[in-house]
């Protein structure tokens, strides 16, 4: 029963989405009934939500008649991971995509304070919903039946059933990623109408902030998960799919900063419109890269017929938005009354946006070069992390330095203000350089830059009146801590890989690891090899640490699950890379990661900063709702 019901729910979603698009266009053009259009949007949300619930029901009750359940269900899968299997593979994850778009549309449709371009924004949102309904119904329908239902399935990918973060990272990341559709809708609606008002600017800011906060949280959770579950020891690999989530984050960050050039409540102008529209186009590009099988990655799902469809939609959207910009952008000003001073807050905010866009251009180039070279059949290449470290990291450092300068640009005497921060930076560089010289100059500069920012923020926090809002203060401190964590864990990490028999030991950086036992267990899902080790940090007491190697025959996949001893200043990270066939020895990797915890702490602080900005902004008294036309056409 679930199959036909699910297919019907998706069909209803598609029909209501098309209806809603037409009704909202009618509202925009002919001032038709808002209530009717809003009802269609809500029915669309209810039916897509029902489709999601039905698919999860099928996964929980193991209705193997559905292809999606036959592919991703399994009798041995615990309830929690049966529920999360909804987003463990292609079709289900696209359904989640659709549910989030539909939910965003319904929330925007119920907005109380409405912009004059709101009906157009709703038309754009409904149009995007139509496309993803069509994808879910025609191209990646998770309710498609199988001819002969199996008795049992292989379960979701083993990597996706090893850690409870599976219930958090994908939905949060998706919400942020897909939520950028709302700022996009407002930007495009402003372009269609050739004007924008304060309500549109406020809605664009609030939704960008919500999506950006969730995206930050999702990316941080993903980095932590990658570190804790995938036993390769790192948290960021410049993997195409990681890049796909980073790109809209960069442009959304730029959007938020350009919005600060004018006081909140000012009508929209060129920069935020271009950046907000571009952010969602990058989301569409990322969806194409992730969901078409064109890139090889931890997160990418295998080849599917969706590729041309998603690429087509991305190109169509880009062409339409590009044409709208050529036509309408000259109507919008640059948001300033006078020219930019070289040393001014507005200049710093613009420079920040430019740097974020430059990083995005560097990252998108590195991600697309292999795809384009393969598409033109000229060469098979991969772009390694070295490219991103060399081309993107220096630009990021410039942005960090700018972050240390920016808080003081409002007060009259900027240059003298930086002396304490500069002293803190030089002291840090001197101390680190003398006591523990890192392997790269870039790391040393990063420590200095972070000290520069943190010293400035500390002074700003106690200044009266405070030159920075609380949210920005917290987010900027988070970025500085994140930079320290990244630089320290990459410059000072020490790794050794040894093949050890039972009783043998190896050591690095004062940490000794001794193999105590190698246990092999066979269970229903596959084979597990647990290597019991004793880890001694300097002369401290030995602690038992048990990294695992699991083999899943259902997927022909071996997963190495690390054992991590989390410390305040450093993590001791052990993984099993291989076990000898006779079980007498194991190849063990021991890594000491200093200050890696600051990466997650920093990331969560950045997200917290976003949430605080959201909370504070809501309490600012609302400006008068009447529309203000900017250079009406």
């Amino acid at each position: 029963m679930i199959g036909p019901a699910g297919r019907m729910a998706l069909a209803l979603s598609l029909v209501t989405a098309v209806t809603a698009t037409l009704l909202w266009a009618r509202v925009a053009l002919l001032r038709g009934s808002i209530g009717l259009a809003r009802t269609a949007t809500w029915i669309c949300l209810v039916s897509t939500g029902a489709a999601g619930v039905l698919l999860d029901l099928a996964l929980v009750t193991l209705d193997f008649r559905l292809r999606y359940v036959a592919d991703n269900g399994g009798r041995d899968v615990p309830l929690y991971f049966r529920v999360t299997s909804l987003w463990a593979a292609l079709d289900g994850s696209l359904l989640l995509w659709l549910v989030i778009v539909a939910a965003c549309s319904a929330v925007v449709a119920s907005a109380r304070r409405r912009s004059t371009v709101w009906p157009w924004a709703m038309t754009v949102l409904s149009g995007v919903t139509v496309f993803f309904c069509a994808v879910a119904y025609f191209a990646a329908n998770p309710f498609d039946p199988v001819a002969v239902p199996p008795a049992d399935g292989p379960g979701p990918n083993p990597l996706l059933r090893e850690h409870p973060a599976m219930g958090l990272h994908p939905p949060i990341l998706y919400s942020g990623y897909v939520g950028l559709v709302v700022p996009f809708a407002y930007a495009v609606s402003a372009l269609i109408a050739g004007r924008a008002d304060r309500a549109a600017a406020l809605a664009l800011r609030r939704w960008t902030l919500v999506a950006w906060t969730l995206l930050t949280l999702g990316i941080t959770l993903g980095a932590w998960w990658s570190y804790a579950v995938l036993g390769w020891g790192g948290y960021w690999a410049w993997d195409p799919v990681e890049n796909a989530s980073l790109l809209p984050w960069l442009t959304a960050t730029a959007t938020l900063h350009t919005l600060l050039v004018r006081r909140p409540g000012h009508p929209l102008w060129t920069w935020p419109i271009v950046l907000a529209a571009g952010s969602f186009l990058l989301v569409l590009l990322g969806t194409f890269l992730t969901r078409s099988g064109i890139v090889t990655s931890v997160h990418a799902f295998t080849a599917s017929p969706l590729g041309p469809l998603l690429l087509g939609f991305f190109l169509l959207a880009t062409a339409l938005v590009g044409a709208l910009m050529l036509w309408r952008l000259p109507h919008f000003g640059d948001g300033r009354r006078s020219g930019l001073g070289i040393v001014s807050r507005a200049m710093a905010l613009h420079a920040q946006a430019v740097l974020m866009v430059v990083v995005a251009v560097v990252v998108v180039t590195g991600t697309l070069v292999p795809v384009l070279l393969r598409a033109t059949r000229s060469a098979e290449v991969t772009v390694g992390p070295a490219y991103f470290n060399r081309a993107a990291v220096p630009v990021v450092l410039m942005a960090v330095l700018l972050m240390g300068v920016a808080p003081f640009l409002r007060s009259g005497r900027p240059l003298r203000q930086f002396i304490p921060s500069a002293i803190a930076a030089l002291l840090t560089i001197g101390a680190v350089g003398l006591l523990a010289p890192p392997s790269s100059v870039l790391a040393l500069v990063t420590f200095g830059a972070a000290a520069f920012v943190l010293a400035g923020l500390a002074r700003a926090a106690f200044a009266s009146p405070r030159p920075v809002r609380l949210g920005a203060l917290v987010a900027h401190a988070g970025v500085a801590l994140l930079a320290v964590g990244v630089a320290a864990s990459s410059a000072f990490a020490a790794t050794t890989e040894r093949r050890l028999g039972v009783g043998e030991s190896t050591d690095i950086d004062g940490v000794t690891i001794q193999v105590l036992a190698i246990d092999r267990k066979q269970d229903a899902t596959g084979m597990r090899v647990a290597v019991r080790t004793a880890v001694t940090d300097h002369a401290g007491p030995a602690v038992i640490s048990e990294p695992n190697l699991r083999y899943y025959p259902g997927h022909d996949l071996t997963v190495s699950i690390p054992a991590i001893r989390v410390g305040l200043t450093r993590d001791i990270y052990t993984t099993v890379l291989a076990v000898a066939e006779d079980g007498t020895s194991a190849t063990v990797r021991l890594t000491v990661n200093p200050l890696v915890g600051l990466v997650w702490v920093g990331g969560f602080l950045v997200a917290l900063g976003g949430a605080l900005s959201l909370y504070r902004r809501r309490r600012v008294p609302a400006p008068a709702p009447e529309p203000v036309l900017v250079n009406p056409p």
Partner: protein, 152 residues
């Protein structure tokens, strides 16, 4: 800064970004080669090589493992420190990444399993076998395999 002075600045900015990207891409691209093509690869360049593991060629000496990859025309000797279980099977496809030395030996640090590489997509997708007593259900090609692209 007025509108009239903006375009030279934009131009300089675009050139700077172009240079940044060009400099970044210098020596950071890893090309994919067949064993036959490795003769044209310069010593010390990072390269990715895919081929069949020659049966009987796998030799383990302590922490080091040595084997030959072939494309049916030429072989290349691969040497690596770490053996990843299930990634290297004699007679099966493998993709390795590393640096060639002067004697034509590839010192690999990364091994990619066959079913995850996109260079030569396997026809079957998964090797899932139904449990005993099950029926003849076979998952569709390329059903559900977001495995790690590489073991790092």
């Amino acid at each position: 800064m007025t509108g009239g002075r903006r375009w030279p600045l934009t131009l300089i900015g675009l050139i700077a970004v172009g240079l940044l990207i060009a400099a970044g891409l210098q020596d950071t691209l890893t090309f994919y080669r067949t064993p036959s093509e490795t003769s044209s690869v310069a010593v010390g360049d990072r390269v990715r090589v895919g081929g069949t593991v020659v049966p009987g060629s796998v030799v383990r000496e302590g922490d080091v493992i040595r084997f030959r990859l072939t494309d049916g025309v030429r072989d290349v000797v691969v040497q690596q420190r770490i053996d990843i279980p299930g990634r290297l099977r004699e007679g099966q496809q493998a993709v390795v990444e590393g640096v060639l030395d002067g004697r034509g030996v590839l010192h690999a640090d990364t091994v990619m399993s066959k079913h995850n590489n996109t260079y030569e997509p396997p026809p079957g997708g998964t090797t899932y076998e139904p449990p005993p007593g099950g029926n003849t259900y076979e998952p569709p090609p390329g059903g559900e395999q977001p495995g790690p692209g590489a073991v790092r």
